[in-house]
């Protein structure tokens, strides 16, 4: 394709091609601090015009690549970064086999991982970003957590955190402006702005961490923390995994070990400060 870039995020190397210069320039700037990879890519993404003339007239970015879903709507050129992010996520969700994929954010502290799973809007990205900015924690990722079946270790997928709506201002108050991507206004998922992980987090992105605590945050409502039985945790995590069924027995073994060895809680919180305090409290209990 006319324009292209190679990006390495954790164990994945993406080859991203585009019909236009703009999305590639935006990606180059957003990923400027990521370590370069000379490895051949193991996933290909295409940002393309649905019809040849749509390259010039009302250009709209259609998501393509090794794995696609039929009927995905094209996005306007101003949301090229979102299209790239969705396409990269899609390659992971449908194509990645090396790890059990959990749709979850993760942070690390002292070689142990806190995994936070939940639907969009649960606050798992914001909590991970806030923790990642405190000195004690390393951000591992806000979208996917990768579990190695053989060892049970969690691996990072630290692509830029996709902050949405109110979370944007909340993080902008804490983090220097040069660590943010452009503001994408009124996307199908609301306002979006990407937060680039810290240099330290990127430097050690290949280092695994053993899962020590799993949380299911829920933003809004009164404070409530409920311990989850292994059986419920198992069901919740099969729903949060995009490749559990594809991995067969290896996936079952990995997940069974996770739910029987790692404590898990569902956690409701009314605001970020309370959420952070609850996370610290649960972590302290898990470490005790």
């Amino acid at each position: 394709m006319r324009h292209c870039i190679r990006l390495a995020v954790g164990p994945v190397t993406f080859r991203i091609g585009s019909d236009w210069a703009r999305p590639i320039a935006e990606l180059a700037s957003l990923y400027a601090n990521y370590p370069a990879s000379a490895d051949p890519a193991n996933a290909t993404v295409r940002l393309e015009a649905a019809r040849p003339w749509r390259r010039f007239i009302r250009p709209a970015v259609t998501i393509g690549g090794d794995f696609t879903i039929p009927g995905a709507l094209p996005l306007p050129m101003s949301m090229g970064l979102l299209a790239a992010e969705m396409a990269m996520n899609l390659q992971m969700a449908l194509g990645w086999r090396r790890h059990l994929l959990l749709h979850a954010s993760a942070v690390e502290r002292g070689g142990r991982a806190l995994i936070m799973s939940g639907v969009s809007g649960s606050g798992k990205s914001t909590l991970a970003a806030l923790l990642g900015e405190s000195n004690a924690w390393r951000l591992m990722g806000d979208e996917f957590t990768l579990l190695e079946p053989a060892s049970g270790a969690a691996y990072a997928f630290p692509r830029p955190v996709s902050l949405k709506n109110e979370a944007i201002a909340e993080m902008a108050a804490r983090v220097p402006a040069n660590r943010f991507g452009p503001l994408l206004k009124a996307t199908p998922k609301g306002d979006i702005r990407h937060l680039i992980p810290s240099a330290e987090a990127l430097e050690v992105m290949h280092e695994p961490a053993m899962p020590a605590l799993i949380l299911f945050p829920r933003f809004g409502g009164d404070v409530a923390v409920t311990r989850l039985a292994p059986s419920e945790l198992f069901v919740r995590l099969t729903e949060a995994s995009t490749n559990y069924a594809m991995l067969g027995e290896a996936g079952f073994t990995a997940l069974t070990r996770l739910v029987t060895t790692v404590p898990a809680f569902a956690m409701s919180y009314p605001d970020s400060a309370t959420g952070m305090a609850l996370v610290q409290q649960c972590w302290a209990e898990a470490m005790a």
């Binding site: 394709m1 091609g17 490895d39 051949p40 193991n42 991995l247 067969g248």
Partner: protein, 337 residues
């Protein structure tokens, strides 16, 4: 060289993998995925010297192969438990059959739906038994349903509501409106039990019939989507004994399938055969059009040669149904779209 030809040469063993640089590898991997041949390539190059990142990806793909086979064979077992009690005898087709028999092309082959062949007289009983056992219609459109029942070689697709897997119940191997006349009754009569050493015991087409079915599938049925994968299947399946080949040719001639069979043999040999055999293949002009359509993919795995592809798409419909019927069909589809 284009990535799709690099892929072909790697599969055929004509290209030394050590000569590929990083850019060539990522192109080949992407094209192999688009052609549903990535795991096949991983298996082919399991012992080759490849870059570390490629070896890791190939190991991922190879590990997923047996999982896929287990899941496909479990689906075949589910069909057996449903159909055998009501006295319906069925033969496995395509990917699941290759896996059941552990044929040379089974390693790494992608398996989609469960395809089975049954006697046309058994259709009502099979349909009732499958519906009672949890399979449901995928399409609920009355026109599509009537179209399948009146003109196709299979029931409308069914999907299992719990396992989310599709089954295609064939009663012959080509649409009823097709100009070739496959003899499904003879194929069913000659079906063989899968041998020990395979995975489970199922009925399969005899080796000559399996080759004919593969050729019919490549040449006569579709618009050449997945053509490269199907020709790779053919290349490995067609390694028959002399007498089996003779039977295949005789049988294909009786069913007006000799032309597709011979074309498949020429194309598969040209694509994947050893150099000495390859030198003896003389391709016709039409063969070359097929090759161009089958290899119409760029290094980003995008389809190319749209006009040629469209021509093959039209041809597939033209082969499949007489002209007045085609016109009526396209008109109905267009009005509904």
């Amino acid at each position: 060289m284009s990535a799709i030809w690099t892929l072909i040469d790697l599969l055929a063993g004509r290209r030394d993998p050590a000569t590929l640089d990083a850019a060539a590898w990522e192109e080949v991997i992407s094209v192999a995925r688009a052609e549903a041949l990535a795991t096949t390539l991983a298996e082919r190059l399991a012992n080759a010297a490849v870059p570390e990142a490629v070896a890791a990806l190939f190991a991922d793909l190879s590990a997923a192969g047996p999982v896929q086979q287990t899941q496909a064979l479990w689906e075949a077992e589910m069909a057996r438990r449903t159909l055998t009690p009501v006295g319906v005898r069925f033969v496995l087709l395509k990917g699941t059959a290759y896996a059941a028999a552990n044929l040379p092309n089974a390693a790494g082959r992608q398996i989609g739906d469960l395809d089975i062949l049954i006697d046309a007289d058994d259709l009502p009983r099979a349909e009732a038994a499958l519906l009672a056992a949890g399979w449901e219609w995928v399409k609920s459109d009355p026109y599509d349903d009537a179209y399948y029942r009146n003109h196709m070689h299979e029931l409308p697709p069914l999907i299992h509501r719990e396992r989310d897997r599709m089954i295609d119940v064939h009663h012959t191997i080509l649409p009823l409106t097709h100009r070739a006349r496959p003899d499904a009754a003879a194929m069913l009569a000659d079906a063989v039990q899968s041998l020990p050493g395979g995975n489970g015991s199922f009925l399969l087409l005899s080796p000559p019939d399996m080759v004919i079915h593969c050729a019919a599938h490549v040449m006569a049925d579709g618009d050449l989507a997945g053509g490269l994968r199907n020709l790779w299947d053919f290349h490995l399946l067609a390694d028959l004994r002399e007498d089996e080949w003779q039977r295949a040719v005789e049988r294909a001639s009786r069913q007006k399938l000799a032309e597709p069979l011979c074309r498949c043999a020429r194309l598969a040999t040209y694509l994947f055969g050893e150099q000495t055999v390859r030198d003896n293949v003389s391709l016709t002009l039409t063969d070359r059009m097929f090759l161009r359509a089958i290899t119409a993919r760029d290094d980003w795995a995008r389809p190319t040669r749209p006009i040629l592809r469209l021509a093959f798409y039209i041809r597939s419909h033209w082969l499949r149904m007489p002209m007045p019927m085609l016109a009526r069909h396209l008109w109905t589809k267009w009005r509904k779209a």
